[in-house]
């Protein structure tokens, strides 16, 4: 075992940290999508991380937020604040003391792994970091599974993401879910994300907007699989859907290996 048990941290909602027992050099943050859970979205990831030695130098955070209630950009601001806090303070403050961490410690690599709506949240948070010239931004890398950064098919998103009772109540108009408007392909949120990212790229200052790896599911019916600005060509995974493409299992280790290889 290379990591602590889940430590429930004050950032976001029900976020858990698995801190390495060694001294860390990397931080890996997982950000779920619409109606995802801090850890539930990622299935076997916590178990694989604790039982293998691939992350011995990495602190891991499974970041949670209330995706059903808040607007995408509000959740992006909250995530940005979390990034500031964890990147600009000693990791021992997260709840487990490692002796070798100096007062001026900073992570060499910050790997952000996002699913679906999480990609919109992460991209906007990094744009916020750029606008405030955060030095750790240059250490950030994004891996995006089934990203919703070019919008989603709302009916399919709800059908695939909400439990049956939620689907019924949302259909009846009982619930207000503002983020659904944000995820329409022509929404202000998506259009601004593209425009702002392209603006930085045009000024040769947009390296941070380019994902390290984008992963699409071949059976995708929820998000629009379109390239985002200067992202690399996506990795296409067969026989996986929007929700299963980011969930490693004993017989499907691709998501795990993709994250390990990006460290």
């Amino acid at each position: 075992m290379s990591h602590t048990p889940p430590i429930f941290i004050r950032h976001g909602k029900n976020s858990s940290a698995f801190l390495t027992l060694d001294n860390p050099t990397n931080l890996v943050i997982f950000v779920h999508g619409f109606n995802g859970k801090a850890t539930g979205t990622w299935d076997e990831f916590p178990n694989l991380i604790r039982n293998n030695n691939d992350f011995t130098n990495s602190d891991i955070i499974f970041y949670g937020y209330d995706s059903l209630k808040g607007q995408a950009n509000n959740n992006a601001v909250k995530f940005y604040r979390t990034l500031i806090s964890v990147c600009e303070s000693n990791p021992n403050n997260l709840g487990f003391k490692r002796d070798g961490l100096t007062a001026n410690f900073s992570y060499q690599r910050i790997l952000i792994v996002a699913h679906s709506l999480g990609a919109v949240i992460v991209r906007r948070a990094l744009l916020n970091a750029k606008s405030e010239n955060k030095p750790w931004l240059q250490n950030c890398r994004m891996i995006l599974f089934a990203p919703a950064h070019r919008g989603a098919r709302i009916q399919n998103l709800v059908a695939e993401s909400l439990p049956t009772v939620g689907k019924i109540l949302a259909g009846l108009g009982f619930l207000t879910i503002p983020v659904l408007d944000d995820l329409r392909p022509n929404s202000q949120t998506i259009q601004n994300l593209i425009t702002d990212s392209q603006g930085h790229l045009n000024q040769n200052a947009g390296q941070f907007t380019i994902a390290h790896e984008v992963v699409w599911a071949n059976n995708e019916i929820v998000v629009h699989n379109d390239q985002f600005c200067n992202d690399p060509v996506a990795t296409l995974i067969d026989n996986k859907s929007h929700t299963s493409v980011c969930k490693p299992k004993a017989t499907f280790l691709d998501p795990y290996n993709i994250v390990v290889n990006a460290l």
């Binding site: 075992m1 602590t4 048990p5 889940p6 430590i7 429930f8 909602k13 029900n14 858990s16 027992l21 859970k37 801090a38 850890t39 539930g40 916590p46 178990n47 604790r50 039982n51 059903l68 209630k69 709840g95 487990f96 709302i154 009916q155 709800v158 059908a159 909400l162 439990p163 049956t164 009772v165 939620g166 689907k167 019924i168 109540l169 949302a170 259909g171 009846l172 108009g173 009982f174 619930l175 207000t176 879910i177 659904l180």
Partner: protein, 326 residues
Amino acid sequence: MDNKQINLEVITKQYRKKGAAAKGFRTVNSLIKDNKIVSLRILLRDHKENPIDSIREVNERDNIDFYIDYFSILEIGLIANYIPNPLPVKTEREIDFILKNEFVNKYFTEYYPLILPQLLLKQISSKRDGQYFYRSNIKNSTALFDRFLMLNQIVKNDDDIDQFLWFLDDGWTSGYSISDFWEVLSNRDIIKYKLGSSNKHPLNSALWGFIKYIQFLSDFANLLRDSKEDSLLQSAFWHHQSYWFDHMKEKIGDIIKIGISNIRQSMSYISSEEIIHDKKSFLTSSDDIEKWRTDTSQLEGVEADIKYLLDGKLGEPLKSFFYESK
């Protein structure tokens, strides 16, 4: 430090040394140490004999519940081979000092019986040498226990779920009760009138709590199903929610009997045109609605999960273990 000690250190830090549990410990510890027997007896009384009216008392008892929950989690951790067996002497002394106290003991054995802390105390009290009990290494028990901790965190740390369970437990908020909530589910006009767009309205919060709690029940049922190879651990997980699955069985059953049936009723009365013109609904065409009606016709999964969780048989292995332990 070995892994089990690290696990114990982190669990103790989270479930005993901060937040409500830490306050609960301070209250009980000082009342026992200062020999304030009458105050302790009054604070930890059975609410059926003498209701709990003051907010201060409600809060203090809540804190103590969180503190006692720490002992339940320790017991499950022992069964999962997740923490050292035996526990460190300092932890054993605290268990002995607190849980053996006459009034604390009555609280979790007679008034609000919880088998997990009872089992922990029994094991500590009858320990001679070595472990309290022997368990061979169980496949996946660490991963299952991690999942349990994370699910537990979700249900304990959500204001909407709190509001829903408060209603279910016969609580009132701003003049509303569970009957208002069930009524809301069956009548679309009422909800429009009462809720407006305010997410902070207690009925709106309870509505979100209802959805989230059903999701939690489904996730918890899956955790128990995945634990079936270790019936003792499975049973220990179940007992952690036994207040709801056992003592409040009928109320949880109302989720099916009233909640789900009222939703069905709502669906059957609504016209497609009304939904299409409702800006709050994500459905914008007749085709959308047709597909939505088909997609949502199956509520059996929810009902199956709840029936599974309310089956008292899941609690039996831990009870047997309790009666068989030294």
